[in-house]
């Protein structure tokens, strides 16, 4: 596994992905569309589904408001009350929170030091879409590995976009 460096697209570095995020095509399209709709502000949302060995399966997404009115072009924050509601509604459908997504308007689709410092959901995926001049570019995903603040790391993971809806992992 490679831990990546923040700030720039690591195009020259080899990326070895053993982790995986599986997401149904319309959900993938929806989170990318969300990033264009809120441009030039950052969008944010929650990925729900199941965690299983080797990855996470996303079976629904929930769009959230960005509460960072003071700096929405380069910061995001999800209201915990919204998160509690999404968690409760997901639980009723048999889904858990498996990750989050947000956009980087006019920035690369790579985690920043701010993303890293503010990431506390170990074992979850953090999906980032770069948006340049209003158009969604690359979407990438990083798993927050480790078990506490001292050993956490973002690790690249591949995104498998599935053409068919997915149920629970076997």
């Amino acid at each position: 596994m490679n831990s990546a460096q923040p700030g720039a697209e690591p195009a020259a570095s080899p990326i070895t992905c053993v982790l995986m995020l599986k997401i149904y095509q319309p959900l993938h399209d929806s989170l990318r569309r969300h990033s264009e709709e809120t441009y030039p502000h950052e969008c944010c949302g929650v990925l729900l589904g199941q965690i299983a060995d080797g990855g996470r399966v996303v079976t629904s997404i929930a769009r959230c408001g960005n509460t960072r009115d003071d700096s929405p072009r380069n910061r995001y924050h999800i209201d915990p009350r919204e998160l509690i509601r999404i968690q409760r509604e997901g639980r009723d459908r048999g889904e858990d929170i498996v990750g989050f997504y947000h956009s980087h308007p006019d920035h690369p689709p790579h985690w920043s030091q701010t993303d890293f410092a503010e990431a506390h959901w170990y074992g979850c995926s953090y999906v980032i879409t770069s948006v340049v001049q209003g158009k969604a570019q690359a979407t990438r995903s990083f798993e927050l590995t480790g078990n506490d603040e001292t050993e956490k790391r973002f690790v690249d993971e591949s995104i498998e976009v599935a053409p068919e809806p997915m149920g629970r992992m076997p």
């Binding site: 700030g7 944010c44 999800i78 915990p80 920043s112 701010t114 506390h120 959901w121």
Partner: protein
């Protein structure tokens, strides 16, 4: 009984349960009851000096305890307590100034041309 909702990343320290039933008349008592049942949770919720970690939000029903009586908040039978690690971030590095941000944007739009005045950036 009170129910404490456990977020996905902390369930491995709570017997893989999504919710744990505890007793207590205040938030502090309920959380103490939780970490007595599941001691591995303690270092994830509290700092070494016993304070709730800054990124750990605790809600009683839909209210942030910071705006109630914090950990002294009184609880009623069947209250629902949620532990919610914060979700935040953003593209700009702490300390990145607007000039370096503009340079980064130029490089994304026009990676091969040395600005300041190429066609992409006018």
């Amino acid at each position: 009984m009170l129910k404490i909702q456990i977020p996905t990343p902390l369930r491995q320290y709570a017997g893989k349960q999504a919710a744990v039933e505890v007793k207590g008349s205040t938030v502090a008592e309920a959380l103490n009851s939780l970490v007595r049942l599941h001691p591995d949770l303690k270092r994830h919720l509290y700092t070494d000096d016993g304070k709730l970690r800054a990124f750990v939000n605790v809600y009683v029903n839909d209210e942030d305890i910071r705006y109630l009586e914090k950990e002294a908040t009184q609880l009623k039978e069947n209250d629902n307590i949620s532990i919610v690690p914060s979700i935040a971030g953003g593209s700009r590095e702490a300390g990145m100034n607007s000039r370096s941000a503009r340079t980064l944007i130029r490089q994304m739009i026009c990676p091969t041309v040395c600005c300041p005045a190429c066609c992409c950036c006018q």
